[in-house]
């Protein structure tokens, strides 16, 4: 008995193409959910290491309100306020530099630059994004540091300002790329329609292109904020790493990430110090999660309207 054939001669049999399709489906599914698996895995790991400390020796009131970060002292203090303010001030300053810089760059690349200039700029911006953060930290220490001392006549150049500039430069390429993608997603027919109405190029950008790409531009900025919160090495090298509530941009600060990076290696696993660093990790994780969630909600909200 032969296999049943239909009139076109096709046999109902699981052939190579069928199996290939199945394999591809399984692999793609695995790839797709791996992101979720990793995120949950990291969260479980970080909380497992930190929660014992959070519900044990940690005084949450002190954690959020005190600037006494003395985990190795005989009379240990776990006040993370200064670290939070440090991270916030550096990120805030970074956004002050990088938002205008990257939106301007994106507008130029997306709306004005043509042909080879445009391609060259895009490649250069992407190359900027590939510079390792330790190199940026090096720039902060050996170029920005003396420069700030000289220009502003201050005794120390390792400060929130220094780290803010460095971090701003670091975040700008990725923000530029995302913002430019958002501008490019605005159909040319919108530009043509507005131009046909007699709008100048600037009016087209201001009244049509930017409103139409609002979602992507907001996403670009929030991505930059996320980058600022998470950046470690450059911030560690450029801030001065001093526990301090800054009163001016020239004050040294210390970031949450930098604290974890510089101290974790010296702690005994399971010790209160170890637990306190993981608590900082939980805090960072929750904050970045909230930023991304807000970004999502904001973007969705804009889309609905």
């Amino acid at each position: 008995m032969s296999h049943p054939r239909d009139r076109t001669g096709v046999m109902d049999r699981r052939d190579l193409a069928w199996y290939a399709d199945r394999c591809a489906q399984v692999l793609i599914f695995a790839g797709g959910i791996s992101a979720i698996v990793f995120i949950i895995g990291i969260f479980v790991f970080v909380t497992r290491e930190g929660l014992g400390f959070v519900f044990g020796p940690l005084d949450l009131g002190q954690f959020f309100s005190s600037i006494e970060w003395r985990p190795t002292s005989d009379n240990p203090g776990y006040g993370a306020l200064a670290l939070m303010v440090g991270t916030l001030s550096v990120t805030g300053l970074a956004m002050l530099f990088s938002v205008p810089l990257s939106l301007g760059a994106a507008l130029y690349i997306g709306e004005f630059a043509k042909g080879k200039t445009r391609e060259a700029l895009k490649i250069l911006v992407e190359m900027l994004a590939a510079i390792p953060s330790v190199v940026w930290g090096f720039v902060g220490m050996s170029i920005m540091n003396p420069l700030i001392i000289q220009v502003f006549d201050v005794p120390v150049g390792l400060s929130a300002l220094n780290a803010g500039i460095i971090l701003g430069l670091m975040a700008a390429p990725i923000m530029t790329t995302i913002a430019e993608d958002a501008l490019k997603a605005v159909p040319d027919s919108y530009r043509e329609a507005a131009e046909a109405l007699g709008a100048t190029r600037w009016e087209v950008i201001l009244k049509v292109v930017i409103p139409a790409s609002k979602n992507g531009l907001v996403a670009a900025v929030l991505l930059g904020v996320g980058r600022g919160f998470g950046e470690t090495m450059a911030v560690l090298m450029a801030t001065g790493h001093s526990i301090n509530i800054p009163t001016s941009p020239f004050d040294g600060v210390r970031a949450l990430t930098a604290t974890i990076a510089s101290e974790l290696g010296d702690t005994a696993t399971g010790s209160p110090h170890y637990g306190s660093l993981f608590t900082l990790g939980i805090f960072l994780f929750v904050v970045t999660f909230l930023i991304n969630l807000t970004a999502d909600l904001v973007v969705k909200g804009i889309r609905k309207k």
């Binding site: 043509k114 042909g115 159909p187 027919s189 919108y190 043509e192 329609a193 507005a194 131009e195 046909a196 109405l197 007699g198 709008a199 100048t200 190029r201 009016e203 009244k207 049509v208 409103p211 139409a212």
Partner: protein, 265 residues
Amino acid sequence: MVEANGAGAGPRYGERPVVEVRDLAISYGGKPALKDVSLDIYRHEIFGIIGPANSGKTSFLRALNRMNDFNAGMKVRGSVEINGKDVNAWQNVYALRSRIGVVFPLPVGLPLSIYENVAFSPRLRGIRRKAELDEVVERCLTRAALWDEVKDRLDSLGSLLSGGQQQRLTIARALSQEPELLLLDEFSIAVDPVTTMRIEDVLKELRAELTIVLVTNLVQQARRLADRTAFFLTGEVVEIGDTEEMFEGKVKDERTTGYIEGRFG
């Protein structure tokens, strides 16, 4: 040349043409799209342009309001005079464009509310007073036969309207420019037949106030609307004539009859 058909609302063939095109040639990256076209368009005329794809119809329209300026690949030779002034002599191309209304093949609702779509051009002209803008918006939407359908939701997004409504919105937007010249490029491509007829009625009424250049892929639409019709083929004007005569078979070139009767297209 067609005889002047009297005074009143009809085309003013006795007067100087609104649009005078001489030896207009357009090419994209060296590839010619339009070859030495010369023609006149008169005030209060609906000037139809028919022809198959790639015949240069759209390129011709784009040269009229210098939409080629930002298209580096598009090269234009020859002259286009509107009201006796060469369009290339305009230093402020934005001012030139603001006097010419354009309706594109696919309706482009700007990502703004219905109200703001129509108020866009008046705002560019510097009209700020709400009452004045309200008046312009209502008048233009009414003339485009859209007011009754949208008057209760002027604040909702223009892009949420149906295709036919969006196309009438773009016509209202073009009218808000108070143009002397209205260019329509295959406006009915994405519009249902009933709406097409409504827009055609609107255009017939508008002829009393302005001059219309109607590029269309529907030869019967040209017959219904155009006073004179030009037949474009592969970048050349095969012939220009009185629409009714053309459709009755009084043509100079066999190809025109062939296209009109659907033997090729």
